[in-house]
């Protein structure tokens, strides 16, 4: 399990299961500050096969964050044989809209709102 965090958020990467889990509040300043998170996502993506992005505990995501996720989705779309599964929460308002929008970039994306 690899972890990345600051006082507002926590990212946990379970390499064995290829699950990236994000909790807390993500409001980093600009896409550049999201680079460490992007790197984790790309790494998980490059492993191929099944990948799960669990955002159930991510209460807030700013615009740079959604841009980062959108770019990641574009990257994932180009990865052969990758099956991407995004898990979100119905009780977090932004996820209902923005995660559904991510599927417009990658129709094959499997979205599960719990």
């Amino acid at each position: 399990m690899i972890k990345l965090s600051d006082e507002n958020y926590e990212l946990a990467f379970d390499e064995a299961a290829n699950i990236v889990k994000l909790n807390g509040v993500l409001r980093l300043n600009g896409v550049a500050e999201y680079q460490p998170i992007t790197d984790f996502l790309m790494k998980a993506c490059d492993a191929g096969g099944q990948m799960t992005l669990n955002l159930q505990g991510l209460e807030f995501l700013n615009s740079s964050g959604i841009a980062t996720f959108s770019k990641f989705i574009l990257h994932a779309r180009g990865c052969d044989g990758l099956k991407l599964n995004v898990v979100g929460s119905k009780s977090i308002p932004w996820q209902g809209k923005s995660l559904v929008n991510l599927r417009r970039l990658m129709p094959a994306l499997e979205l599960e709102l719990i």
């Binding site: 959604i66 959108s70 932004w94 923005s98 991510l102 970039l105």
Partner: protein, 467 residues
């Protein structure tokens, strides 16, 4: 002829040969030229075919690039749309949160009335508005009486509920759009009444006070037996130079005077006692409003002098007794007969002197060295009687001493007398002992002992004078 003919024939033949040669040359030239043209055409054709092939390839490449660019463009548009929608959504939620916080920051969480912040904001706005419109604005400062004792006796949840009940009274009383009811402190409320003059404000103050009184919320640690409040009323006229701070200070000062006057009353800037004509006024609690005497049908003068200075005052110059006697006879003019008034003045002074002696010489001076709180003196003028009360909090040992004094004076057991008084009194007073006795002036003297903590006891001495 023949020679000529022969020459002509030879010449013709030569011409024909020449012509033939020319034709042959021309033909050859034409053939050769065609071959060149044909080769050139072939070359051109090959070149064109090659170019067409290259263009087809280039077109295909271009189409692929175009498709990729187009796809990228679509992706970017979607990406941008996602970001915009996400941002808009976040903005809406931030705005909602901001509005909630904004509302909360102006609301008192317990009573749901406005808080001090709201009060200060609205006060400035309303003062400015009333000045613009040339109308009056009134401020009511309300404070619950003996609220700490209420909390101590009934617990904080009951205290909170009482504050909610009072908030509801304020809310239902202030229904006009310009009215603003707020809780500005623990048990302190402020009501801002736009376009309201002094009389209107006082009427509302009284409505609030009487509504709470009639609600009859039990408060056995209050002398009223129920929860009550005081209201200070101040009115700002449009031509006044007074600002918000001045208006608050004015309402606060009348609230203080209402407290000094015995609580459960409203007080405003209408005075019946002129402080310039009576030097004692300062010592008996300040200014009393006409309205208060009308509404309460009783008048309470409270003061807390030191025992020593009080003794000096009573013994040496009798100023307080004289003043009080004058005031009492003003309050109860009787039939207006001067002789009658003089007799009643003398009776009152005698009664006061009696209680002063009993209280100061036989009773409270014993506690001089153990006096945690100052003595409180109150003169209560009611419809048919005058009640003079002196209270002091003492330790239990001193209380026992007082009981001894009572026993000595009455030759009866304090508890026995207490039961007797409870049976015969409608005052509902609680305490360890309550003893009455008649004196020569037709006054009833009562001692009351109330345990206030494990170590202390409040001892009150009362004189009731029938008028």
């Amino acid at each position: 002829m023949n020679e000529d003919s022969q020459r002509r024939n030879t010449s013709d033949s030569e011409t024909l040969r020449q012509a033939l040669s020319d034709v042959e040359i021309a033909l050859l030239t034409a053939v050769e030229h065609s071959e060149v043209i044909e080769n050139e055409l072939l070359n051109a054709n090959d070149k064109m075919i090659s170019e067409i092939r290259e263009r087809v390839v280039a077109e295909r490449r271009l189409a692929k690039v175009l498709e990729a660019v187009s796809r990228k463009n679509e992706d970017l548009e979607l990406l941008m749309q996602n970001i915009i929608e996400h941002s808009d959504d976040s903005d809406v939620r931030w705005l909602e949160r901001y509005s909630e916080v904004e509302t909360l920051s102006f609301t008192d969480s317990l009573t749901q009335l406005g808080n001090r912040r709201r009060f200060e904001t609205v006060l400035d706005q309303e003062i400015a508005r009333c000045r613009r419109e040339g109308s009056e604005i009134s401020l009511l400062m309300c404070d619950v009486d003996f609220f700490k004792q209420y909390n101590d006796r009934y617990g904080h949840p009951a205290g909170d509920q009482a504050l909610k009940d009072i908030a509801k009274i304020l809310e239902t009383t202030c229904k006009r759009p310009g009215d603003c009811a707020t809780r500005i402190g623990g048990e302190e409320f402020a009501l801002l009444l736009a376009n309201t003059d002094h009389d209107g404000a006082l009427a509302i103050a009284e409505k609030i006070r009487t509504t709470l009184f009639d609600k009859d919320i039990e408060h056995l640690n209050s002398s009223f037996g129920r929860l009550t409040l005081c209201v200070g009323v101040a009115t700002l006229k449009p031509d006044s130079t007074m600002d918000a701070v001045g208006l608050i200070a004015s309402a606060d000062s009348f609230l203080y005077k209402a407290k000094q006057a015995g609580r459960n009353c409203s007080c405003s800037d209408v005075k019946i006692i002129d402080p310039n004509t009576s030097p004692v006024v300062e010592h008996i609690g300040g200014l009393i409003s006409i309205h208060e005497t009308k509404v309460m049908e009783s008048l309470v003068l409270s003061f807390s002098p030191s025992l020593f200075s009080l003794q000096q005052r009573w013994r040496n110059n009798g100023l307080s007794a004289d003043f009080l006697a004058d005031y009492v006879t003003t309050f109860f003019p009787g039939n207006g007969d001067e002789a009658d008034i003089e007799i009643r003045k003398a009776e009152f002074k005698g009664a006061i002197g009696y209680i002063a002696n009993e209280l100061l010489e036989n009773g409270m001076k014993h506690s001089l060295n153990n006096m945690p709180y100052p003595i409180t003196m109150r003169l209560i003028l009611e419809a048919e009687q005058i009640l003079f009360i002196a209270s002091n909090t003492v330790n239990l040992e001193a209380a026992e001493m007082y009981k001894g004094v009572v026993k000595e004076l009455t030759e009866r057991d304090p508890m026995e007398l207490y039961i007797e008084i409870l049976e015969n009194s409608d005052s509902g007073t609680s305490g360890l002992g309550l003893i009455t006795m008649m004196n020569d002036y037709g006054a009833t003297l009562a001692w009351e002992f109330e345990q206030t903590s494990e170590e202390t006891c409040k001892v009150s001495t009362k004189v009731k004078i029938e008028v």
